[in-house]
Symmetry: C2
Subunit: 196 residues, 2 copies
């Protein structure tokens, strides 16, 4: 079932879902297998069409599914999902076939996208892999074009995050190391010539 | 003059300076010219040797200096520098030769590095460009190897950020759009098998 607060995000605003540098969950599906991993190294790359980069280690099952299917989902987990994010980031589907059930990951479907979306996140970006074999082999660096974007309207609407007024459990996570994250903090507005 | 609280960071821990996704300042020097720009699209790429990616628009003077010198500095600005960060991100040295003075940027030097470092930041990563012409031309995507790293020991020491106990003015900035940033927030520790 789709999350009750999910709303589409204009593709021209999709970069804003990642612009503040959150740790993300990467999910992919191929041949009846779904996997979800955590990635601190994901970043916006372009505005229109929106593109992003993500680093996927060769040891991960998710990477194999991305390479095989040519598609993946980047989603922004919430403070309430800190334990889940750490868990999917430290266990492998290679070793633990029941990884998703064991880590509490619940998936949902979106019509027109044969990809696994993770329940409880604050934003979702459905991506098409732009194959760049040199980057993938040399740097583990993958480039995706964002072909669909959605957010939890309680925390992202009208093209902006509303962390300052949304429930605190919806704040984004920013991983450091050793199980330590920071949640995103307070809004800071610099007056200037570029309102939007 | 070097900032009083500047201390070297082990290269094996340098990725942690960027792992939480802060907006950064990019600086470069060539032929007697220095420039500094803001970039929300910078990301760690590897642990050892540490590498990072940064997106540099073709319109920027900083990019020209990076391409000509083969070196650049990525630094993490603080909450106290929000106005400076917005200013260097919206003005170009092409149009405004006194951009650095006008935006309040003060530079310092580090022995052995012929690069401009920005005063008042919380962390600095000196980088050597790893030329990848296809990425640079097609995606504006630049890859650097980190060859030196330093931090303000009041907020990063022993391989970890200490935002929760450092002065609030030293928190990192995470840009969204239209002059709006978020400061990094509270620390969240997930107990698990990966302490460090």
């Amino acid at each position: 079932m789709q999350p009750p607060h999910l709303q589409p995000v204009e593709l021209s605003k999709a970069y804003r879902l990642l612009n503040h540098g959150p740790t993300v969950l990467v999910s992919a599906r191929h041949g009846g297998a779904d996997d979800v991993m955590a990635a601190a190294w994901a970043c916006a790359l372009d505005f229109a069409p929106p593109k992003l980069t993500v680093v996927l280690d060769k040891a991960t099952r998710t990477r194999e599914l991305v390479e095989a299917s040519g598609t993946f989902v980047i989603q922004v987990p919430t403070l309430a999902q800190a334990r889940l994010t750490q868990a999917v980031g430290t266990r492998s589907l290679h070793d633990q076939p029941r990884k998703l059930a064991d880590t509490g990951v619940e998936l949902f479907e979106l019509e027109g996208f044969d990809q696994p979306f993770v329940q409880g996140c604050s934003a979702w970006l459905a991506c098409r892999l732009l194959p760049e074999p040199h980057n993938q082999q040399t740097y583990d660096l993958f480039i995706g074009e964002v072909v669909g974007a959605w957010a939890d309207e309680r925390v992202f609407r009208d093209g902006h995050w509303h962390f300052q007024t949304a429930p605190g459990a919806l704040r984004s996570l920013h991983y450091i190391a050793g199980g330590q994250f920071y949640a995103i903090g307070e809004s800071v507005l610099v007056p200037g010539p570029t309102p939007d």
